[in-house]
Amino acid sequence: MESVRTLEGIGVGNRAVRAEVLRWSARKSLPAMAKSSLGVEVEVNALSMAIANLENQYAAKIKAADNRELQEILEAQCAFATDPELADMAKDFCEQGWDASSGLQLAMSEFKSLLEGAGGEFSERVADLDEIVYRLIQWMSGESDETVLPTSGKFIIVADDLTPMDTIAFNDVVVGVVTKGGGPTSHTAIVCRSRGIPAVVACAGADELVNGQMVVIDPDASQVIINGVLEDSTGDWWAGRSSHGAPVIQVMANVGSVADATKVQGADGVGLLRTELFFLDHKIAPTRAQQVKIYEQVLAAGPDGEIIVRTLDAGSDKPIAFLGLGREENPALGVRGQRVAAISPQFFEDQLHAIKAAADSVRATGKKIEVSVMAPMIATVEEAEQFSKAARAAGFTRVGIMIEIPAITQVIAQLKGVVDFLSIGTNDLSQYLFAADRVNSGVAALLNPWQPALLSLLQSIAIDSAKVGIKVGVCGEAASDPLLAVVMAGLGINSVSASPSSVAAVLDLLSRVDASAAREAANSARSANTPRDAKAAAKAALIEFL
């Protein structure tokens, strides 16, 4: 029997899976440079065909991509691949006697040298150029330019990191993902979560995994178990225990698009309706009437119950063309969320009125919804007052704010009479609490939502809110983890809002516990010293109860 070892990372999802490792082809090195033995015409022809082929592939993938961000990345890559300047320069090299693949490499390295010192997002484009050259040369050498996924069987894909192009190619044989890079909010994590594929990201030991090895991915314990068996895992350990019927706290869903809204099942309302996606494509601010139509669609498609709409959460990291936000050194600490209202007051006033008008017209069709609004990135009571005043002027009777900035957690008592509810965004709250950039995988471990300091802060927010009679929910990614949702219930949180694909699991576990068991789990987790111990302690407490 081979030895069982575990690798640590950050888990995405709840369900554990066991399957064979399939390494996502570490890119083979490009062929050595060579002079052509076939003549200029043959080489130039091969080049043109490769480019035409890649253009077709991009077109198909852009069509199949399920979100606008991904489409834009692919469109930009396709534009580079089909740039006549690239083809012309590569042809010049072919005319000097190089073969097509050498011509391409020489042409691209010339463009890359022109980009040296560009910095920031410009230098990130170099990775796009590398990907294009790689795919063109693969095609010309007669090999598939995609990592060939088997058509049957079950595999766990292991990679350093995945590009959007990679994740699009995943089919049903991909039952799990392990990446060396990435973090809880990285592209890979987001795609896996939305597609219900269990994953462990930021797994430093991923290099140890080899093709054919049987491993268990246990996202619940944030580990990969080499040569493990499913019984070693902690995911879904509660299956088969008895249910109490109703969940111990309210379970809502997070929605960001009409497609999301139609996927929601079993949730008691929407705890976070994001509005960013509706504006990414707009060069100029949509009119009130245009906005009303958009909100009507999503409200009509979504579930009944309480629907909490978050006003536009834009910033220089989530750019919206018409807001005219400047470039910032530290976008996460800059003009974003409600702070943008100071420079674009008209947009925010229009948005509030449009949401209200849409809510009224959808209610008039007989749909049982209660629509309220909340503002992101509130740091002070004064900001909360301004938003509350504007929202009530637009006709809303229930108004809330997001709790993402540690400063506001210190003045919750003063929010009495200002707002009706609070909604904690754990991703940003962690980022600001731990001084750890969400987009920097080097600090991903600090953003583990099981960090005891975060749990303690959630508890103090819950206690302070209860004292002044303000309801508090959690709508961050953390609420999609069923065990963590139980801990939140135990900390005094009144509702959780999970991603549509996680609602069923969260609802399931919350329906098997009672308030005292949840409190027990919360106390055990909060007093641990590490995220890992916190999770283990919460689980141990619950197992005793169940």
């Binding site: 930009a76 980009l115 470039r327």
Partner: protein, 87 residues
């Protein structure tokens, strides 16, 4: 040849979506359009790769040259191009 100048106000600078839209407009134009930073050599505006190598950020000035004498046509395209690099 008609030459005009403008300032990039789009935050990401001239790459990604702005560069794609910019090059697409140039590609569809009935005459050649070239672009560059003032005083530096101009590059073909129909090439997203060439646009990228300008390393043009928000706040940078661009010189755009239209290989035509038709003032009206140049103005119309200039406005479209500026829109792609404006917030």
């Amino acid at each position: 040849m008609i030459i005009k100048e403008c300032v990039i106000t789009v935050k990401v600078g001239l790459h990604a979506r702005p560069a794609n839209e910019f090059s697409a407009i140039a590609k569809a134009a009935p005459f050649e359009i070239t672009v560059g930073k003032p005083g530096a050599p101009l590059v073909k505006a129909n090439s997203p790769l060439r646009l990228l190598t300008l390393k043009a950020h928000e706040g940078d000035t661009l010189t755009i040259a239209f290989a035509t004498d038709d003032e009206g046509a140049a103005n119309e395209l200039f406005e479209k191009l500026v829109a792609t690099i404006s917030e």
